[in-house]
Symmetry: C2
Subunit: 367 residues, 2 copies
């Protein structure tokens, strides 16, 4: 058992450590027991554990109980298979058929990458999908294929448009990854100022929040974390993030023919289909420029940033993706650390589904 | 003569009003006199005046003296013609040949739209270009062709990467436009928290600025507008805008084979080529979904936003592009209002180039 100085929440201060492979296998068993094929369960489990390995626990196996509940209560169809329903040159539209978002998104990006290799660029819109986890997971499929890849999705409304007070837009994330020597460049950002989790943490600690993080139920900026939880997230940078989030909804929701705006069903209506839309853009570097020259140039760009003078109060300058790469190396060597509460929820699901728990778990003192 | 309550700067408080067509003709004569062909001069003049008509004076004819200086001193080649140097499926790479950025960008987006109509999507990277003015100008070429269009460019370094203190990235703008009944949806944003002009205005007025707008010469956040002018702009939303600006440099600079990062030459080195890179993405709506249905759905989305409850302190909720559309209607009816100082600079250029000034200028009391 170790203590997590960042949690600030007594109930989650136990942690467990599990080898990456064992966690993938466990998550995969759970998804198989919920009705997914072995192949789909393996892909979805890997996607979630990748996020944990990269230190993005908010989009890792902590999400699994919600996905399992939706599979159990019929909101997500475990046996459905996404299919290309429309093709036109460098474009495809995928009907996600209400399969797990993690499965639909992977399929969609694979189509985009295939198109990019054949036609230089590939653009794939997916409809009838669900919450797809971390956007970076799909963007990161690009670099090993010599592609820059862009992944975006709409999510259920969590923000008001700038100047408004009604939740009409999600904090729709965008991720962009590019090949680079050593490890890829990758940005992955929700279009709110901060994630709701940061506000929840401040509320738990009884701390105020900065005035630009949230609006209260009446639409006014608030520094009261509890009032903020009753209200809405603010868009990143105000009107700019608001406009960009609407643009992502147009590209993900409207172009694919899925739900959009306030009509997108939140995940926690477990029995209802979500009808989420995604957009994937893949650009084959070799169609634009010499790939070796591109690698040299991006290495120069990113190393120049890494070696530049830090601002006062900073130890160094990082390139997006550096922290996650280091986290992943650490996880591969030392295993993945989960909050005790996250692991407990997985164990409860395992009992309910009759699935064996992992045996090679260390540092646990749960239950 | 009228007074502009927003300028806060005595010298620019005179304004003049010119019919849109007359201003286009005047700008076009100036560019012809600087060596551009009639066709290129007309296109570039229209692009600049469009920005003025839409109320984006920072990217309108106020920029013309700099473009003219660059043409005069050899930094930009007035007779050069952009050319597609590489084609591959849905992708093209354009050699801007050091023509005016406004000319290269229009050519590049036209190629992207053509590809989108043939192949569903078109992606065009331009290298050896220059400052292209307002990104919205090119994104807005999409909607009349039934396309969603995305325009982005790198610009010379004005920000430090997050955690750094050295100018290594531009506040690289992105614009996205989509067809919608009545008028298109369009966002156009630089990836800094604010434009430098806002800081200059605060400095002129002797007012402090918010602590998140800029860092001083030592890399520390500052509320002193004068210290901020000696320092750097901050990226929109901190690390998110920093990562996104790097991504735009990868997509615009690296993919096209142009300059990037700190190597991009600022416009005011008038005799030097800039080697700016752009990226244009066009998506033909009809390749994805029924265009009429798309129009109905986007109208519903945008009208829902417009009719939603405003936040306290706001009169209503606007969709990106609404203000600019209203400005443009006003300009078409009443003419375009220019700052006296902007008009004076154009008149000086006209004298130097032996070009006739417009005759139908009202409200002027200059010189």
């Amino acid at each position: 058992m170790s203590s997590d100085p960042h949690s600030g929440d007594g109930a989650s201060e136990t942690t467990v450590c599990i080898p990456r492979d064992a966690l993938v296998a466990f998550a995969s068993r759970l998804l198989c027991a919920a009705g997914l094929s072995d192949a789909d369960a393996g892909l979805a489990a890997s996607a979630l554990v990748n996020a944990d390995a990269r230190g993005v626990a908010s989009h890792g196996v902590a999400r699994l109980p919600v996905y399992l509940d939706r599979l159990h209560r019929g909101g997500t169809d475990p046996r459905a298979q996404p299919v290309v329903e429309r093709r036109s040159g460098a474009v495809a539209v995928v009907d996600g058929a209400n399969a797990l978002g993690l499965v639909v998104a992977r399929y969609g990006m694979r189509q985009a990458l295939q198109l990019a290799k054949e036609r230089g660029a590939g653009v794939v819109a997916c409809r009838r999908s669900g919450h797809f986890g971390a956007a970076a997971e799909y963007a990161l499929m690009g670099p090993p294929e010599g592609c820059i890849a862009i992944a975006m999705t709409n999510v259920n409304a969590a923000m008001a448009p700038w100047g408004g007070s009604t939740p009409l837009i999600g904090n729709n994330p965008i991720a962009i990854a590019a090949p680079a020597p050593g490890s890829p460049f990758v940005v992955d950002m929700a279009l709110s100022t901060v994630a709701r989790g940061k506000i929840r943490l401040a509320a738990t600690r009884g701390e105020p929040i900065p005035p630009d993080w949230a609006i209260d139920g009446a639409g006014k900026p608030t520094i009261d974390a509890r009032a903020a939880l009753e209200g809405l997230l603010t868009p990143l940078g105000g009107p700019k993030g608001s406009g960009l989030a609407i643009a992502v909804d147009i590209l993900s929701g409207l172009l694919s023919g899925s739900a959009f705006g306030a009509d997108l069903v939140p995940q926690n209506r477990y029995g209802q289909t979500q009808d989420v839309g995604h957009l994937f853009i893949a650009l084959h570097v070799a169609a634009f420029t010499d790939p070796d020259n591109f690698q040299n140039r991006i290495a120069f760009m990113l190393d120049t940033i890494r070696h530049s003078a830090p601002a006062p109060g900073y130890d160094g300058v990082l390139v997006p993706g550096d922290i996650e790469r280091d986290n992943e190396r650490h996880a591969d060597e030392h295993g993945i650390t989960l909050h005790g509460r996250t692991y407990a929820a997985l164990l409860r699901a395992a009992v309910a589904l009759g699935v064996a728990a992992p045996t090679d778990v260390s540092g646990v003192r749960y239950g």
